[in-house]
């Protein structure tokens, strides 16, 4: 269960098709450990009207989840929209 201080991140797609049965790319960040500037960047990723941005050919997408009040919010956005500190929080692995 994701705790309220956590931002969970999953990187999907790419040429290899991350997010399938074997190729995984995941990470998490502690929101309380972020600077005020980084927190604002996170807030900007979670608008009231959520939309999924269109994927690019072989580009990565990021699925990002956080708590908002009593509910979990999840967005899925293309890599170019994700701040570098979130991109660098994921680690690629084989399962």
């Amino acid at each position: 269960m994701q705790n309220h201080d956590q931002l969970t991140i999953e990187r999907l797609g790419g040429f290899g098709g991350f997010g399938g049965p074997h190729l995984k790319s995941k990470g998490e960040l502690s929101l309380s450990g972020l600077s005020a500037e980084d927190l604002r960047a996170v807030d900007r990723l979670f608008p009231g009207d959520r939309q999924v941005s269109a994927p690019k050919t072989d580009g990565f997408r990021y699925r990002i989840t956080r708590w908002s009040g009593s509910e979990l919010q999840t967005i899925e956005v293309s890599e170019e929209e994700v701040p570098p500190f979130i991109q660098s929080a994921v680690k690629d692995s084989l399962e």
Partner: protein, 343 residues
């Protein structure tokens, strides 16, 4: 293939930037985001829009160059594109640069000699590649205007330019953008990926002068890193057996197994198998007959961004009959292959 969806709609950002209940900082951030998002959208869509516009007004009839120039840029592990130019990249001491130049030139030759196509756009556009993108970056992609290659993490993947099928795959995304203009979701997304795998593997076989029986039909075999190999994986995808347990990304084999929202790298399995089965049944070299049918289906018709796999299957069936009237076995092979995957 233009992108119209962004995470935060412009009107919402503009509303937020004027919301008196938000702090001054948040209002400014919303304003800045609206400006940057708009610029990014414009940049990203520019290539696709230009593609459509030039086709409409017939500019595509003009040849830019008789053969495309090939340029290689070095991102030096940053993510700023295109990076710095690599002078004399064909003879560069940087093996990634020289390999990228050599294989990109070879793909240009493949398209020219086998299909009579002059570069990605058909009229000689420069083929631009950026290498050493990011840090330990496990990906290669086509961004609408150029190719981008990461070095891999040397665990799961090595340098993505090590696979000539990868280079053929990415360049074919460019060809698709300039022809069928397939979207990147649903049936069209799976077809988009499949076409890149088909032409990527054809290029690999063409370079090795292999017939269909000697080819391994693996995608990504040459870019697997030591950890992936140790665990018994042999490729990313296997066109001959999309469900191969030794593939890092095993795929469905039947059209009916494709589910809504499935990543195009997985939904490409059934059309990949149809191409393989067609080639195996016809025999010889993949690019000699079946490849010609697939190329005509890709390039000989108006754009069809939301094309269904069945439409593509029917098109190749019809083309097989039209292009090889004296060899009915070709049309039979293509028809049977699509039937086997449920189309």
């Amino acid at each position: 293939m233009s992108c119209t969806c962004f995470i935060i709609p412009k009107d919402v950002l503009e509303r937020l930037s004027k919301d008196p209940e938000l702090s001054k900082e948040l209002r400014q951030a919303s304003k800045d985001t609206a400006r940057v998002s708009s610029a990014m959208r414009n940049l990203r869509d520019q290539a696709s829009l230009l593609t459509s516009a030039t086709r409409t007004v017939g500019i595509m009839e003009l040849q830019l160059a008789p053969f495309p120039a090939v340029k290689v840029y070095d991102c030096k592990h940053h993510q700023t594109l295109p990076g710095t130019s690599v002078p004399n990249s064909g003879t560069s001491p940087d093996l990634t640069a020289s390999r990228t130049f050599k294989e990109t030139t070879a793909v240009a030759n493949f398209y020219k000699q086998v299909f009579g196509r002059n570069s990605i756009d058909g009229v000689g556009m420069t083929m631009l590649s950026s290498i050493h993108y990011g840090t330990n970056y496990n990906n290669a992609m086509w961004n609408g205007a150029q190719m981008i290659y990461g070095d891999g993490d040397n665990q799961i993947f090595i340098d993505f330019t090590a696979g000539n099928d990868v280079i053929g795959h990415e360049l074919t995304h460019g060809v698709t953008q300039h022809t069928l203009q397939l979207a990147y979701s649903g049936d069209a997304g799976g077809l988009n990926e499949s076409l890149s795998d088909c032409f990527g593997t054809m290029f690999r076989q063409w370079e090795a002068n292999q017939d269909v029986n000697h080819a391994d039909w693996l995608i990504g075999h040459d870019i697997l890193g030591p950890v992936a190999k140790t665990k018994g994986f042999t490729c990313l995808r296997n066109m001959a057996n999309p469900a191969d347990p030794h593939a890092l990304a095993p795929q469905p084999t039947k059209y009916a197994q494709i589910t809504p929202g499935m990543d195009p790298h997985y939904s490409s399995g059934p059309p990949n198998l149809a191409f393989y089965l067609s080639c195996k049944s016809v025999g010889g070299k993949s690019w000699e007959k079946v490849g010609q049918i697939w190329y005509r289906a890709l390039t000989g018709f108006p754009p069809s961004p939301n094309m269904k796999m069945k439409e593509f299957a029917d098109r190749t069936r019809k083309l097989a009959t039209q292009m090889y009237p004296a060899a009915p076995a070709v049309a039979t092979a293509v028809g049977q292959a699509w039937k086997q995957i449920g189309l």
